[in-house]
């Protein structure tokens, strides 16, 4: 009991101290005084364990959200439909009426309204927006989460460093040529802890079994199954570390006070955002939370209103919560989907795929909030200022996280591949 008390006091001081100072204080004094258990200490030192202290949360709007009904309303134009614009807490920036709470955290958000690509098919565009590359037969590019984990992940960490929450769409890609070690750990829902994370036997017997398994794998490895056995081993090692870890509590959002849960809201996506915060706090490097389906070919207005209702509160609260905990500066939050939607409203009151001009929202991770990058013409059809390509966006994300975008990996085909091909950092994002 007294232990929890101690932690609470310290956590409350989190914001005022500045994260690193706080950690230094905590690790030196509290640990020396023996007031914190090893587990608590590890939890609190999460950021220290992560190289460069950075983490990233990707809020993936699967299906391609309509920019008109989210961040770029065009109330004066026929293409804008009946969607109204509302003021935000940054004067001069208006967003759609569907996002009233997001409007209150606009000072923390940098909006890119001039995002554009050429890819309008779901799986290919999802792949592009996750990897920075178009799919090819010969090279499996790693997804953003895998790259971030590879470059920033701690050397020793029990939990999977890259967690995906929500139903996965196609084309989101995995570890690619970086290997299965960097694949995502996926969970359908954040509402309950992942299945089968309790051991079926004692720890000792489990470890004994794993050793036997290791020995019995050699026969297949030496007879045509070398790659499969190596991949399998990676996965089983990750799984073992995880289930044996005291950090597994991080997956349990029921451990949060009711008030915290309420602040995020009640949608699946809200639970996902809360879990994302818990995981990053524990030391997970990259969390991807999916919401959707935003593929509103019909009844766009009705559908997007509903989807915004699920996303608005958790997004705003995530930024507030991260900030209050002193984590926002080191945690980049990216809100995006695979493309935008057509300016013209189709006969079914829907909008179709439109990669030529869409939105991305960035927050935290050194991003200067309260600003808009780029714009489109009054009809929303074309980017008229500061076009941002996919490579530009990826470079900007890398810059925020301290990843060298020109770093070359050896791809499976023995060809060096840059983290990002071409593009430039959007410097104004960082003020």
């Amino acid at each position: 009991m007294s232990l929890h008390h101690q932690v609470d006091i310290n956590v409350n001081r989190f914001g005022t101290f500045g994260r690193r100072d706080f950690l230094r204080t905590i690790s030196a004094s509290a640990a020396a005084a023996g007031t914190l258990s090893w587990t608590d200490l590890m939890t609190l030192r999460a950021a220290e364990l992560r190289q460069q202290h950075k983490a990233c949360i990707l809020l993936w709007m699967q299906g391609g959200p309509s920019q008109f009904e989210t961040f770029s309303p065009k109330p004066g134009h026929a293409n804008g439909g009946d969607t109204k614009a509302i003021a935000t807490n940054v004067s001069g920036i208006q967003i759609s009426e569907n996002l009233p709470l997001t409007a209150k955290v606009m000072d923390k958000t940098c909006l890119i309204r001039s995002m554009n690509s050429k890819e309008g098919s779901h799986p290919r565009a999802s792949y592009l927006m996750h990897t920075g590359y178009l799919p090819t037969a010969s090279i499996k590019h790693p997804t953003l989460g895998s790259v971030v984990l590879h470059d920033l992940g701690p050397k020793e960490f029990d939990l999977p460093g890259f967690v995906r929450i929500g139903r996965a769409g196609r084309g989101n890609a995995g570890g690619g040529y970086l290997g299965v070690k960097y694949d995502a750990f996926s969970m359908q829902t954040a509402e309950r802890v992942p299945d089968n994370t309790t051991l079926a036997t004692t720890d000792t017997r489990y470890e004994r079994r794993m050793k036997l398994l290791g020995k019995l794998e050699t026969q297949f490895a030496e007879n045509g199954g070398k790659q499969e056995v190596a991949d399998h081993r990676e996965v089983y090692d990750t799984a073992s570390r995880m289930v044996l870890s005291p950090k597994m509590d991080a997956f349990d959002i029921s451990k949060e006070p009711a008030a915290v849960r309420q602040a995020y809201g009640s949608s699946d996506f809200a639970a996902g955002c809360l879990l994302a915060r818990r995981l990053v706090e524990t030391g997970v490097t990259f969390v991807e939370v999916s919401a959707g389906n935003w593929d509103t070919h019909q009844d766009n207005f009705e559908q997007v209103r509903g989807l915004c209702g699920q996303v608005d509160q958790p997004y705003a609260q995530l930024l507030v919560d991260l900030e209050q905990r002193g984590m926002l500066e080191d945690t980049l939050v990216v809100w995006m989907g695979e493309f935008g939607r057509t300016p013209r409203i189709n006969p079914r009151a829907g909008r179709d795929h439109y990669p030529r001009a869409f939105n991305v929202a960035l927050a935290g991770g050194g991003v200067k909030g309260g600003q808009v990058v780029g714009q489109t013409d009054p009809s929303g059809s074309d980017v008229t200022d500061r076009p941002v390509g996919v490579s530009d966006l990826f470079r900007t994300i890398c810059h925020s996280l301290g990843i060298d975008a020109d770093n070359e990996y050896m791809s499976g085909v023995g060809r060096p591949m840059k983290v990002v091909d071409g593009g430039e950092v959007i410097s104004e994002v960082f003020g």
Binding site: D183, M242, D352
Partner: protein
């Protein structure tokens, strides 16, 4: 190129395809030999001569064909009997036997169910899962030809719970664009849906051609079946369009008289009426044609020998499943501007498949008779290595793995389902342990196999699932429990566990490892539980090699 023409001509001259009786199938064994020869010329690398690289051993062969055809492991008895059989033609005989085993239909029905349903845009299409499995299983077992099966899916009408032929249309909620995109992808290996919004940037199909294809489907309606007791849907044809009902051009509940291609410049306009035209052959119908005639004509044209994609797509897919790698990958993207890794070989197989009158079992028999199929397996090749030098290891599909697990642990699926309380899935579609297991281990069979890797969640399930661990308990009446009581000799029991779980005998090294482990643990029951756990959690158990 010249050489390949010559080869084909020579084969024709030898009476290879053309036999006096048209109904006679090309000879599987002969075609298989030609395939192996053509592969060498296609790839340009001398495939290892038969003498230096022996084909797989008998036990490996039995496990491979059992998994490929019946979707489960051989029993220890089947393994031993086959290995001891001296018949020189026993492999072909085994293939024939399994092609006539009802499990063949079950196994491939589940495969195609996944092909169709993994791409569903309508969740409630899961209502048709059981029916489509049943329809396909019956059709494949009675060797209905592939063109008949394709025709059934294209022309389907009926209740989606009752009639599995409706599954493909239901999976796309009857939307003409989505439905024809799936028909094109599954039956022709052509991803024409990219041309839905714009002329395809890399392929040669144009936007108009896509919408002309969609024009075969406007009169198909998918609507709730109000007559049925359980919640379900009807796929129906609508040919009556009174004027007062016109207006909403998008009512999938009712269907529309003609398909309209949206005007990209003026999306608010209703769009242009499209005539049904089949892009691959150029065959066309006029506006106003009744639904039955539209879909019937499409099925005829799509499955005709004039449409080369139909045979090629099927051959490519089955070859990929059996040999471990397709001529085209992913298996449902053939072109027209994609690269084929062995074009002459694919042509030969596709032409012969046409000559066989799309005989599904014939194609299995033929591919399985090739050396390419019977080579020892390897991990998937590196991109720069020549293809088809070995059969590639394949991760088992969810159903295959589930069957293997049930066999290895001696569990009866029916009993397990009943014990589990018959979990009811979403929308009341069939649940139970198999569905549950498939949710974790299943994958879309059309996906590139490079992308299908094991996950931590799967590892956690295999390692820690209380159900699986309970099934391995030494106290059980069945499975390991029974074996522990009936086989007192440790070495004998080790061999038995290997045969049951991995369908092969342990090597002497493995026996030694196990014996040492038994000694280390001290408790016989506990040690064997651990061994069973390790074998089930091994990489080898998860793969068809």
């Amino acid at each position: 190129m010249l050489q390949s023409r010559f080869l084909l001509l020579a084969m024709l001259a030898l009476g290879f395809f053309v036999t006096p009786v048209l109904a006679q199938r090309p000879n599987s064994e002969l075609v298989a030999r030609q395939v192996d020869t053509l592969l060498v010329s296609d790839i340009g690398v001398e495939t290892p001569p038969k003498s230096s690289v022996p084909l797989i051993t008998d036990d490996a062969f039995v496990r491979r064909v059992m998994l490929d055809l019946a979707g489960e492991l051989p029993t220890p008895e089947e393994l031993v009997t086959f290995t001891l059989d001296a018949d020189a033609h026993k492999r072909a005989r085994m293939v024939d036997q399994l092609l006539n085993d009802p499990r063949f239909g079950d196994n491939w029905a589940r495969y195609w169910r996944d092909v169709i349903l993994y791409r569903r845009t309508e969740e409630r299409a899961l209502l048709s899962a059981a029916a489509v499995e049943e329809y396909l299983s019956e059709s494949l077992n009675e060797n209905k030809s592939w063109d008949e099966i394709a025709t059934d899916f294209i022309t389907a009408e009926g209740d989606v719970r009752e009639d599995g032929r409706t599954a493909l249309i239901m999976a796309q909620a009857g939307q003409p664009e989505d439905t024809v995109a799936e028909i094109s992808r599954i039956f022709m290996g052509i991803q024409i849906q990219c041309a839905q919004c714009h002329d395809h940037p890399t392929d040669r199909w144009e936007r108009e051609q896509f919408h002309e294809l969609a024009a075969f489907f406007p009169r198909v309606a998918v609507r709730p079946n109000r007559q049925a007791e359980k919640r379900t849907f009807l796929v129906t044809a609508v040919d009556f369009f009174p004027r007062f009902l016109r207006g909403n051009p998008n009512a999938r509940f009712r269907g529309t008289a003609e398909h309209l291609m949206p005007d990209l410049e003026n999306p608010a306009e209703p769009g242009e009426q499209m005539k049904p035209v089949f892009f691959a052959t150029g065959d066309a119908l006029s506006l106003g044609t009744r639904d039955a005639d539209r879909r019937g004509a499409l099925a005829d044209w799509l499955t005709s020998a004039n449409n080369e994609w139909f045979a090629k797509a099927y051959v490519n897919r089955i070859w990929a499943e059996l040999v471990g790698e397709g001529f085209y990958e992913p298996v449902d993207d053939l072109g027209p501007d994609r690269e084929c890794s062995a074009p002459q070989t694919l042509d030969l197989l596709a032409d012969s498949f046409v000559a066989s009158a799309y005989d599904v079992k014939w194609l299995f028999r033929t591919i399985m008779a090739t050396d390419a199929y019977q080579r020892p397996s390897q991990s998937r090749r590196a991109w720069e290595d020549a293809p088809f030098q070995a059969n590639a290891n394949q991760r088992l599909r969810g159903d295959q793995l589930f069957n293997s697990l049930m066999q290895a642990l001696g569990i009866n699926e029916e009993l397990a389902t009943r014990a589990g309380g018959g979990m009811q899935g979403a929308y009341g579609f069939r649940g139970g342990p198999r569905t549950f297991f498939n949710a974790a281990f299943g994958y879309d069979p059309s996906d590139h196999r490079d992308e299908i890797t094991g996950s931590v969640q799967q590892a956690l399930l295999m390692m820690n699932s209380p159900n699986i661990n309970r099934a391995m308990s030494a106290n059980n009446f069945n499975g390991l429990g029974r074996m522990l009581r009936t086989i007192p000799d440790d070495q004998e029991l080790i061999v038995e566990l290997y045969l049951r779980t991995l369908a092969r005998a342990p090597t002497s090294d493995e026996i030694q490892t196990c014996v040492e482990y038994l000694k280390e643990v001290g408790d016989r029951s506990e040690a064997f539980e651990d061994l069973q756990w390790s074998l089930v959690n091994s990489t080898e158990f998860l793969h068809r090699r």
